[in-house]
Amino acid sequence: MSKVVKYNRMQLLSAEKIQKNYHKNHVLRGVSFAVEPGTLVGIVGENGSGKSTLLKILAGELAADNGMVQVAGSIGYCPQEPVVNETLTVGEHLAYFKSAYKLPRAEYAEHLLDMLHFRKYKDEKAGNLSGGTRQKLNLTLALMHEPSVLLLDEPYQGFDWETYLRFWDVVEELKKSGKAIVVISHLIFEQKKFDHILHLQNGNVHEAKA
């Protein structure tokens, strides 16, 4: 069951009264929010509060029991656990997704190899990469087609400090180019980087920072 949502041209992503139950557990009880172009929204909450469930619903990976998600344009979804193929190299991943996204060139992916500092692993199989480098690849696969809406689930998990800083440089670039970005995390250290922080608690979101 879905409800009609009046679409606002200024929003790239809107979630309207999203509900999700797992048996008798009401994980999401009517979550509504919207993200405008060039905006970074953080969603925080305790373990098990439904953050990943919400992001999967926003990405179309999971169906809501009720409510509607509207997205203007393409989505880039970065799952919490890296989804890569262990037998393929980093370069082969980029070639495979370049073909999937029907990109003429993989320029932005090449740019991210430098920005996230993992070009030297281009010929290395994903199965041989460290957790942090796999996460860089995971993130690159979500961003390489330069989607208008980015949904990132714990994107800096496993990053060292330098990569963590580089990640924020990438986010800053994306914001400047008008992307709508949603980052979920159980902990958000640098609140000043976010335009909005939403606290997911008892199945609903509350603005923690506006």
Binding site: Y7, P79, V83, S99
Partner: protein, 259 residues
């Protein structure tokens, strides 16, 4: 077409990277031929030959060698494609979400399966020749080996997309391939030569390889029946894959944008 070519290239690479399965083939197949060959004497055994309906009297030792090849290929290729499909399901899902066509991806996997199984069936035939130098028609024996590999490869693909438990998949493949190919051999087996065996996946492959080994008859109908099993399993795999990679309904795209 470009997507299909890319998917074929990487699907092939994925199969050839499964060193455990390839190692099993290298070690297990000769060992299996040797072991089953040693314990089975060359006495004549009655074999119900489908293409002519005749009850052939064939050398039991040689018949067991053919079955060892069929059995080894069914088990190892089933395992190989189950393992890769199961392991790459989330990745394949991500690829299709990113725009790779589901039919392209499945067809690429089918083509990779066809090529891999053709080569491995040839390898198994070459090893067979070390134990049995003069089968009548080697091409037909190879077709029997190839067809059973296709059937069990597609079955493995299907199970890999269907089951969440890796152990359950391995168990089903081992049990089914043992029962299926084992019941076709008329040595110490009261169920052999019975009509119901025609309903088993490896029946056509056993008939084909037996025709190639002992006769000058081409078992075309049995080849066709094997291909029906293969295509059937492949279509079910495609259906499961389509269901598991479908985008969920609460998401609506309000406009198409740049890629």
């Amino acid at each position: 077409m470009k997507q299909f070519q890319t998917a074929v290239k990487f699907s092939l690479k994925e199969q050839l990277a499964n060193r455990f399965a390839l190692g099993l083939l290298v070690i297990f197949i000769p060992m299996w031929y040797w072991l089953l060959g040693v314990i089975t004497p060359g006495d004549a055994v009655p074999f119900k030959f489908g293409p002519t309906g005749a009850l052939l009297q064939v050398n039991g030792h040689k018949l067991v060698l053919l079955t060892a090849g069929l059995n080894g290929l069914a088990m190892i290729l089933g395992f190989m494609f189950f393992h890769s499909a199961h392991k790459s399901l989330a990745f394949d899902k991500r690829l299709t979400r990113s725009g790779l066509g589901r039919v392209s991806l499945i067809m690429a996997k089918a083509l990779a399966l066809g090529a891999t199984t053709a080569i491995l069936a040839l390898y198994t035939l070459l090893i067979l020749l070390a134990f049995w130098h003069t089968p009548n028609n080697m091409l037909e024996v190879w077709l029997g080996f190839w067809s059973v590999s296709l059937i069990y490869g597609a079955f493995g693909l299907l199970l890999g997309m269907l089951l969440n438990s890796e152990l359950a998949g391995f168990f089903i493949i081992i049990m089914l391939s043992q029962i299926d190919t084992g019941l076709q051999v008329p040595i110490g087996n009261p169920a052999a030569n019975k009509a119901f065996l025609k309903l088993f996946p490896s029946y056509g492959s056993e008939q084909l390889s037996t025709a190639g080994g002992f006769t000058h008859v081409f078992a075309g109908k049995d080849l066709l029946m094997s291909l029906v099993w293969f295509v059937g399993f492949l279509l079910v795999a495609l259906g499961i894959f389509a269901t598991r990679t479908r985008r969920k309904s609460s998401l609506q795209n309000t406009r198409k944008t740049e890629q």
